[in-house]
Amino acid sequence: MSNYTRDYSMPELMAVTAAREIKDGELAFIGVGMPLMAATVAKFSHAPNFNMMVEYGAMGPAPLRLPMCVDCAVNNERAYFAGSQREVMGAQQAGFVDVACISGAQIDKYGNLNSTVIGDYHAPKVRLAGSGGANDLASSAGRTIIMLRQDGRNFVNKVDYLTSPGYLSGPGARQKAGLVGNGPAAVITTMGVYRFDAETCEMYLEKIHPGIDLKDIKKAVQWDLAISPHLTETELPTEEQIMIMRTLDPLAVYLGTGRQTLAGDFEAFMAMFENSYHPMVKLMRSKGMI
């Protein structure tokens, strides 16, 4: 077991915290972005037999470079399966997926998410991406891990549009609606880690990230937030977990400012790929994965 480190960024801490939610042997539905980094950390550290499905039709990829999107060529690399979206999303609806990672722009105390519009649907202040697979994952995955930035305005009493179901209106509501999956298990933000009370289905604060003030968390939540009587500090990342993320994503495309670096810079982009081959081979060999 490698040592804890304080040399990490907030997105890295979130990714590692999400990785710890994934158990060995599980099948997960993973979107590209921060969830992908979480999945990779899990696979290379405590959950070598964990496999992921990707939305446009891949399962179990083990690439030596960074995937760029849910339909990316990289998702075929060393995969167990590549084919149709119907296969992976159909399997999820049939109950085969243990865990999925989703996000949104707004969240309420029952873990319901909005990724469609801010403001009125018919005259939106901000139009967002739409559900994508988020609604499907929230509906049918065994459990969901929600990851989002906590900016002080997005933990709201009522989401402007309920895109992806959490516990809906509370206890029993998911079953009544006919949903397959069991709902959110954890919410991981830039401030802390939240879980849901088994009886009330309401979100409570379980862990607080190092350096974050509880007063600021309370200010960033619109409802009267419950706090765990056993409130602890979030476990720090290990040196190895940080090394895994920085090997796969050295320019911090997902966990930092890499996209600004790469915009228009073809040589830097190509170098990122060319240079990832040997460190990734070395990392996979050290884990006995190739």
Partner: protein
């Protein structure tokens, strides 16, 4: 908004005849004003979409149906061609926020855009239904959410066998589907390497199907590995040979996503002026796909191919 049932008019089997044509010919022949156009994200049919933008004065208006789309739909939206979009997701993926889409929905620039939201799987099941000639498909997605409340085409009912809620989505039968795939023969048998999203069901749902491919191969090669055929010839109207035909996005086992190009494009799409200048340079300023590739640079495209082949070529693990 009252739900209008869609007339079910499926195309008949297309003959096993020579179907190769240029993108210009295929778009001229099949895409007309007020066309109901289907496309999806994997792989991006850029060569066909660029040709539609070049012919926008003739086409004028289309209604789009997608599951997820990144970039291609917004090229049409920004070019002023799209009146309505039925969708699961329309955004930039790793390229980030889609300002073209936002401008159209929020401000009606360059024209107002009506949106009909589904979940991704919900949207996909519309083609699953149509591909089998069914009027609708039940799903366990979208239940309990507000997606059905804002989209009356989605009907939540109790299923007649178990009395449990299901969300029904109506079949979608596009007039034309535009698809990019790996390879095809001249009569239109299409094969895909790697993941192919829902291009298989999209092709089966549309009255006319245009497929651009990286390579044209013989029917003998198709017959050698028939389980790679995702779209048999009887669905297909036109095959367009477009090497690198998904750039700036990827084509599995052929070349990699050109993220540097995509990010730079999205930076310019932040303003209407930036978008207009971008399509003027890369689309309207080039007469066909080959000229676009020359402008991007074939050396650059070959490097994207080499990079992909360093990690994987079809049938080989590197």
């Amino acid at each position: 908004m009252q739900y209008q049932p869609m007339p079910i008019k499926k195309g008949r089997a297309k003959p096993p005849a020579y179907k190769i044509m240029t993108a210009k010919e295929a778009i001229e022949k099949y895409i007309h004003e007020n066309c109901y156009l289907g496309m999806t994200v994997s792989a991006a049919p850029a060569a066909l979409i660029w040709e539609m933008v070049r012919q926008r004065d003739r086409i004028k208006t289309v209604d789009l149906v997608i599951t997820s789309q990144i970039g291609m739909s917004s090229a049409l939206i920004g070019a002023g061609l799209v009146r309505k979009i039925e969708m699961g997701y329309n955004w930039g993926g790793i390229e980030g926020e889609d300002k073209v889409f936002r401008r159209a929905v929020e401000k009606g620039i360059p024209r107002p855009l009506e949106v009909e939201d589904y979940s991704n799987f919900g949207a996909a099941m519309r083609w699953a239904a149509a591909s089998m000639g069914l009027p609708f498909m039940p799903t366990k997605s979208q239940l309990g959410s507000e997606i059905p409340e804002y989209n009356p085409k989605i009907k939540v009912i109790n299923d007649p066998y178990n009395n449990e809620p299901v969300a029904l989505v109506p079949a979608s039968y596009p007039d034309v589907a535009v698809i990019h795939a790996s390879r095809a023969d001249e009569i239109g048998n299409v094969q895909c390497f790697g993941l192919y999203g829902n291009t298989d069901t999209l092709a089966r749902s549309a009255k006319h199907v245009i497929v651009s491919v990286e390579e044209i191969i013989t029917s003998a090669e198709i017959r050698r590995m028939p389980n790679l055929t995702t779209i048999p010839y009887y669905y297909v109207d036109a095959i367009v040979h477009a090497p690198f035909g998904a750039h700036w996005r990827e084509s599995n086992y052929y070349y990699h996503h050109d993220l540097a190009f995509g990010l730079d494009g999205y930076r310019q799409f932040a303003t209407k002026e930036g978008f207009d200048a971008w399509i003027e340079k890369y689309i309207l300023g080039t007469k066909d796909w080959d000229e676009y590739c020359k402008l991007v640079g074939y050396d650059r495209l070959y490097r994207l191919m080499q990079s992909e082949h360093k990690y994987q070529q079809f049938g080989e693990v590197r």
